[in-house]
């Protein structure tokens, strides 16, 4: 599906990416920043998966009776690894936020900046 000459799904990815970026930059709450990062990650994953899709494409498993065109499996494999990386980054980020909360009693950036 296209919109002013652009593929609608790619446009959706860009919008989603910008929403995440806004959350990461503008929100003061550290958890919301990490959520923003996750939204950005999802946008990139969606973009990569979409780029491997083809209209009317079959799942790329060759059995009797299957015929081209197939969707490309490599973007899926890449995104799978990407998700693992994203989960690890989120886990480390949340662990750090827990430590910050235990030490300072706040996870708001503007309050953290005022502390000595």
């Amino acid at each position: 599906m296209t919109l002013v000459g652009l593929d609608l799904d790619y446009v959706a990815c860009v919008v989603l990416f910008c929403v995440g970026l806004y959350m990461l930059v503008a929100k003061s709450n550290l958890i919301k920043k990490v959520l923003g990062l996750n939204v950005m990650e999802t946008a990139v994953f969606a973009f990569i998966v979409t780029s491997g899709m083809i209209d009317g494409g079959q799942e790329p498993i060759v059995v009797a009776g299957s015929a081209p065109p197939y969707t490309s499996p490599i973007p899926h494999a890449m995104v799978l690894t990407g998700i693992v990386v994203a989960v690890s980054v989120t886990a480390v980020a949340l662990a750090l936020i827990a430590q910050i909360h235990a030490h300072y009693g706040t996870i708001e950036v503007d309050e953290l900046k005022e502390l000595p």
């Binding site: 970026l21 990461l24 550290l30 920043k33 990490v34 990062l37 950005m40 990650e41 990139v44 973009f47 990569i48 780029s51 491997g52 490599i74 973007p75 890449m78 690894t81 990407g82 990386v85 690890s88 980054v89 480390v92 980020a93 750090l96 936020i97 430590q99 910050i100 235990a102 030490h103 300072y104 953290l112």
Partner: protein, 496 residues
């Protein structure tokens, strides 16, 4: 003999990663064993790296296919001269680890030793993997191994400040990693390949397109964040200053080089695609020169010695990036030799600073006055490191900065040559401030007045590294001769 290189190459990455997984098991009975085990793994990896470099020297670049699938479909590891010149960085780990033994005694509770050493080995494995990978997606994965272990290492000494610094590092680092992943996806969609060499060929065959430009630009920006090029450096000072000293040494000396090596890979990708690199080179030159001056300027105002060293890293990254941006043979050689030489110098400085902090408990210049009277050997190593990073002969720093300055005039960009000299003057000012405080002032703190030299397990690595700074200055022609063929190839591919 002929197949030795390709056979051994995967082990270069697998060994430290496997070692990292084994550290907690080794440390089960006694946490102190973890340190010894890690040193053994680091030493074996270093010897493996030197065998590979010898293979490269005798028979040229070689590749290994992982999992039995031939390139471009399988994942390829590729060992060229650029990768080879990052191998000595691995040797620096073998100095940092014994230094950590006694340092951790005072700074980390025992149950955190095993995670610390495991993260160090993960970091080493990621760095080596990043250097030798010939695959775009693997470039992303190994970069993430390095980044994640770095975030955790910054926070390993616990307490809120470290966690806050690590989180700031993580948030920026994760965005830059995401840009790399996006670019990898885009390049795959454009070319249908993930092999670096293959992507380069296919990009060159296709029409130059906006999408290819977008992908390469995302890669370049992402790697410049990892390299902490001014003004993308905001995460660096806190993270590098707050981390335990052995970690600061690794982060400042080695981990920021991921960005530089990545940037060189982008240049190799872009070579021959018909995309003009002039705008990128101009940006690199301007930002590089700004980074040199601003990094040095900000360092002048620091009282904390580790913060000062962190800002000095920012200006040295500026030197390397300026050299890459100038893109003349001399400048590129100087820049690439500085990738290792700066690592060597900065590890020396951070370990010497760590030894001083460990022995006195103070970390600011005003508190550490007169420390050279009680710790003459460590202070002398610090002085050699300082002279080296200013870029005075006959030290390792001089060779690179001289070549980059020559390159500036060679590329007819004399103005940048002056920026470089101007920056060196600033750098000179703050290291003179440091040496003045250490050598020519009387102690103000009783702990400094009564300090003793660091134990040998800390002092020996510092002294050997300081000696290496001098040796690499005197024998500066060797690394230059080693890197030159790779630079000539790169320039030929870039059409210069």
């Amino acid at each position: 003999m002929t197949t030795l290189g390709p056979t051994l190459l995967p082990w270069l990455v697998a060994l430290p990663l496997a070692g990292a997984a084994l550290v907690p098991i080794v440390a089960r009975r006694d946490a102190r064993w973890a340190g010894g085990f890690t040193l053994v793994v680091a030493l074996v990896t270093t010897s493996l790296a030197s065998v590979l470099v010898a293979q490269l020297a005798s028979q040229g670049p070689f590749s290994a296919d992982l999992g039995g699938w031939a390139a471009p479909y399988g994942i390829e590891l590729h060992f060229d001269r650029f990768a080879a010149w990052t191998m000595p960085l691995a040797a620096l780990f073998a100095f940092v680890i014994p230094f950590s033994w006694r340092y951790l005694d005072a700074t980390l509770p025992r149950e955190r030793w095993a995670p610390f050493y495991a993260l160090m080995l993960l970091n080493l494995g990621g760095l080596l993997g990043f250097s030798v990978t010939g695959d775009l997606f693997n470039l992303f994965v190994t970069m993430e191994v390095v980044s994640l272990s770095s975030y955790a290492l910054v926070a390993v000494a616990g307490r809120g400040v470290a966690a806050w610094a690590a989180l700031k590092y993580l948030l920026l680092g994760a965005v830059s990693s995401l840009l790399v992943l996006f670019a990898v996806g885009l390049l795959f969609a454009l070319t249908g390949s993930l092999n670096l060499a293959d992507v380069s060929v296919r990009l060159a065959a296709a029409e130059p397109s906006g999408a290819a430009l977008l992908a390469l630009a995302s890669l370049a920006v992402a790697f410049l964040v990892k390299a902490a090029l001014f003004p993308l450096h905001v995460w660096l000072p806190d993270a590098h200053a707050i981390a335990p000293s052995p970690v600061s040494a690794v982060l400042s000396g080695l981990v920021v080089k991921v960005g530089i090596v990545g940037l060189l890979r982008v240049l190799q990708l872009a070579a021959g695609t018909g995309i003009s690199l002039e705008p990128l080179n101009t940006v690199l030159m301007v930002l590089g020169a700004t980074a040199i001056v601003m990094g040095a300027f900000l360092a002048i105002f620091q009282d904390d010695i580790k913060l000062m060293l962190a800002y000095s890293t920012i200006s040295n990254i500026g030197y390397i990036v300026l050299g890459i941006g100038l893109a003349s043979p001399f400048a590129l050689i100087g820049a690439f030799v500085h990738v290792f030489n700066h690592g060597l110098i900065k590890v020396t400085l951070f370990l010497a600073a760590g030894a001083i902090i460990h022995q006195t408990g103070y970390r600011t210049l005003s508190d550490l006055r007169g420390v050279a009277r009680r710790m003459p050997q460590t202070a002398a190593a610090m002085a050699i490191g300082a002279v080296s990073i200013v870029g005075l002969p006959p030290t390792a720093g001089f060779v690179c900065k001289w070549y980059i300055a020559l390159g500036a005039f060679e590329a007819d960009q004399g103005g940048y040559g002056f920026a470089l000299v101007f920056g060196a003057l600033f750098i000179f000012v703050y290291y003179v401030r440091m040496l003045d405080a250490f050598f020519f002032r009387s102690p103000v703190r009783p702990e400094v007045a009564d300090a003793v030299e660091a134990p040998w397990s800390m002092r020996a690595p510092v002294l050997v590294l300081a000696a290496a700074c001098l040796v690499l200055g005197v024998l500066g022609g060797i690394p230059i001769g080693f890197v030159e063929p790779a630079v000539v190839d790169l320039l030929a591919a870039l059409g210069r």
